[in-house]
């Protein structure tokens, strides 16, 4: 195992979780919006 492997202390882990959620929201929200728009358009095929 590498000496620089990913061991987090409790404080680092909390900060990391917050950053992680924020980072995924930044890209996830526009992507979810785009997917929902496409899905609405696709529904026309089944009407």
């Amino acid at each position: 195992m590498s000496p620089n492997s990913n061991y987090n202390t409790a404080g680092e882990a909390t900060s990391s979780t917050g950053s992680l959620v924020l980072a995924w929201l930044v890209v996830g929200i526009p992507l979810a919006w785009g997917v929902s728009q496409t899905f609405i358009k696709a529904l026309a095929l089944f009407k």
Partner: protein, 467 residues
């Protein structure tokens, strides 16, 4: 001074304890932005009626659909060329500088294109969106790939699948965004196009900054906790490294080039014709009055294909971590041959639901082919210059971007000249694409481990990985 630059690779090395799952969002920020290119067609009608103001009745001086379509072709060709040309530079300078260059080119391309629209100068649009923007596409596409592979040596397919999924998703954001902005600016500029392009250039540049400033590379000695190099498919997963210059001397590189070329050529065949294809095959004439597929429903079909293009990138690439890359591509081709060959029959029998399902699976494998390629390259050539090798491989995409539509148009036009209509007019297109996939399958099956004479001798500095 350069040593203190925030853009330097040395400033992007992650500190101990850094969570590697922060890296995919940085990559996604770039790919979601540049994926807008797939939605360029949303500008076709507005750009073709800047003078007349009425898309249904363009003026003689308005740009033709062919003239406008050329913009996208230039962008895709430049994507492949710049990915090939700048791949080694990217490996040297690291992902942050490359992502910034991509953001400047991609965002700047919109601004130049906007000027071209305002001056009604198509050459400026070609230069802006096609040439400058296309360079942004190429650098942006490959910029996070080698970094992701280094962070996720145990899940290469998952990691690259996530990023490249963003390229598929970019059109889903770019298309409704452009429509909303054009509607907003319609009163102040012809079709609202020029201000829309300015806004999009700024929005995308800023959005890409999230990726630029959050991307991190792992330290040289870093490895995931408990990671042991995967030996499951050991024959095709090397622990050695091959340089980009040596990689293109190997038969394996060119076999993968053919693999990507054939997979993309066939997929573009469906994407290119999706809307007219389903309307012609399931027309009122074939289905009965009022029962045929309408233009709105056809747009829904195109949307559904985009969704499966996106999902396939993540699903298939992730699956390749378990199945192995060679087997995964063999599935793309083997299953693809059967599905492409079945499309004409499903059309003749008017089996709409099954037809849509088959088309969606086909497109999922088209997307999967893009997303699995970097991991396949890393398996065969190592991590050393995988970004640069990937860049060179993308010239296959540029070639397919010309070849796929050409095959479709020639065969479809020829069928129409012979008086064929509906599903029959597309029959030869799908049978030919099934044949194209046979070539791809043979190329994939011929892939073996790279000869040791191409391996780098001694330890190498895995450049984008930091040191």
């Amino acid at each position: 001074m350069a040593e203190f630059s925030l853009l330097d690779r040395s400033r992007t090395i992650a500190p101990p304890g850094y969570n590697r799952w922060l890296v995919p969002p940085a990559a996604l920020a770039i790919h979601l932005a540049i994926g807008q290119a797939y939605a360029f067609s949303v500008f076709n009608k507005p750009l073709g009626s800047l003078i007349s103001g009425d898309p249904a009745a363009p003026a003689p001086t308005d740009w033709t659909p062919t003239q406008i379509g050329f913009t996208f072709s230039i962008a895709i060709v430049l994507l492949g060329l710049s990915a090939a040309l700048f791949g080694k530079w990217l490996e040297r300078v690291g992902p942050r500088k490359a992502m910034l260059a991509s953001a400047l080119c991609f965002g700047g391309g919109f601004l130049i294109a906007s000027l071209g629209v305002s001056l009604h100068n198509i050459w400026l649009v070609y230069f802006g969106y096609g040439f400058v923007g296309g360079i942004g596409l190429g650098i942006g596409y490959i910029s996070p790939v080698s970094t992701l592979i280094k962070w996720f040596p145990d899940r290469k397919g998952v990691a690259t699948g996530m990023a490249i999924m963003g390229f598929g998703g970019g059109a889903m954001i770019g298309s409704p965004l452009a429509v909303a902005l054009m509607n907003h600016f319609k009163a102040s500029a012809p079709q609202g196009v020029a201000p829309t392009l300015i806004c999009m250039g700024i929005i995308y540049f800023l959005f890409m900054q999230f990726g630029v400033w959050t991307i991190r590379v792992p330290a040289d000695s870093w490895a995931p906790a408990g990671y042991v190099p995967n030996q499951e498919h050991s024959a095709l997963i090397t622990t050695a490294n091959v340089s980009a210059d040596n990689a293109i001397k190997t038969p394996q590189f060119w076999l993968l080039w053919v693999v990507l070329l054939t997979n993309v050529t066939a997929g573009i065949g469906v994407l290119e014709t999706a809307s007219p294809l389903i309307q012609d095959t399931f027309s009122d004439k074939a289905m009965g009055a009022g029962l045929g597929v309408t233009a709105a429903a056809a747009a829904g079909f195109v949307g559904l294909l985009s969704l499966f293009n996106l999902l396939g990138r993540f699903f298939w690439s992730s699956a390749s971590d378990k199945l192995g890359r060679k087997v995964t591509y063999a599935i793309y081709f083997g299953l693809g041959i059967l599905l492409y060959a079945s499309i004409p029959t499903l059309g003749h029998n008017l089996q709409l639901t099954l037809y849509v399902v088959v088309a969606c699976v086909i497109i999922s494998m088209y997307g999967g082919g893009f997303a699995t390629a970097p991991a396949y390259l890393s398996d065969l050539f190592g991590k050393y210059q995988v970004g640069a090798i990937h860049g060179r491989l993308l010239t296959a995409w540029s070639t397919a971007g010309v070849l796929g539509p050409l095959i479709v148009h020639v065969l479809h036009d020829s069928a129409k000249e012979r008086g064929l209509a509906g599903a029959a007019a597309y029959q030869n297109v799908f049978y030919t694409m099934a044949g194209v996939l046979v070539v791809g399958l043979l190329a994939d099956l011929a892939v073996t481990a790279v000869n040791e004479k191409y391996h780098e001798k001694g330890p190498v500095v895995v450049e984008a990985g930091g040191h």
